[in-house]
């Protein structure tokens, strides 16, 4: 009964999140996920590259938003301000996905294998940001460093946002970048 294809993918994601929250990531075989979704284990691997990959589906969208914001920054904008603006531009995406992201974040934090993958995904975003900066004539090595640093700053901001929602994500981002500026001023 080969139905829609997209439906099976959705069922698999739902089943996986349920089982992971019930029993933990390492304690749920892919076979169990597939069974709850009504498909075969083999079908699971036709929709997802591997067991960890399910958690990181929206990454492509986030990357596009960030890269576009960098690309469209006014000419003459310095790298770090451009990066900060890009993260501000991605805030709606975080806010929209928050109810879905939050339980997943706890699961990732509790599962080393997922933390590794999350870091790898972040590295891919950094790579995309680096290239977007290079397209703006930023020196490649400087671009790489600053993309990394800005990504960390944004990650710190979203982390604080999870713990303290009394401030908006915009405010957390600005706070974090301000701390970065003040701390860097103490160099040399």
């Amino acid at each position: 009964m080969p139905r829609s294809g997209e439906a099976a993918r959705r069922r698999l994601k739902e089943a996986a999140l349920e089982l992971f929250l019930e029993n933990g990531f390492d304690q749920t075989p892919v076979e169990a996920i597939a069974a709850r979704a009504g498909v075969t284990e083999r079908t699971f691997y036709r929709h997802f590259a591997d067991k960890r990959e399910m958690f990181f589906d929206g990454e492509g969208e986030l990357r596009d938003v960030l890269v576009q914001a960098i690309t469209e920054a006014p000419p003459g904008t310095k790298p770090l301000p451009a990066l900060r603006a890009a993260f501000h531009a991605s805030v709606p995406l975080f806010e929209r996905n928050r109810p879905l992201t939050e339980p997943g974040a706890r699961l990732i934090a509790a599962t080393p294998a997922l933390q590794e993958r999350a870091l790898a995904k972040r590295a891919l975003l950094v790579e995309a940001l680096t290239q977007a900066l290079q397209a703006r004539q930023v020196d490649p090595r400087v671009a790489s460093l600053l993309a990394q640093v800005a990504m960390d700053t944004c990650a710190a901001a979203t982390h604080r946002w999870m713990l303290d929602a009394s401030l908006s994500l915009h405010e957390h981002i600005d706070h974090a970048f301000r701390e970065l500026r003040l701390a860097a001023a103490a160099l040399k």
Copy 2:
């Protein structure tokens, strides 16, 4: 013939590096490593938690050096200068291990699974640096952010050092931190 234990561990590391360089990481089963080292696959897993873990053995030493440098920084030293000094203190460690690190670095760069693990190891170092800063009364959230940023800066420096050894690692570190300071000054 159960000899020393430490000898087997060393043989396993040598055999693994050879086979990985010959055939690639993904194309060399643990069984082959064990066979070349003259032991069983099971023994491999008694010496290393998993196949990827062999590459990251000196990490403990590096962590200790960094943490000690942070701890022993003169009172009143600001966080980023303290972190920069810590990385300078770890330079001899990098220089000593360079001939061993360099072929490994290319292998890591060519193997996604190893990149993930390398990022995870970096995250552990960042965590240790964060705690060392907190012990110096740095605000926990600021400590976390700056440890991350400093680690990225040092990583960028070592990466440049691999590509361009005409400058010392000390100089690359200073250059990278200077770029960070200049870029951050453009914020706000």
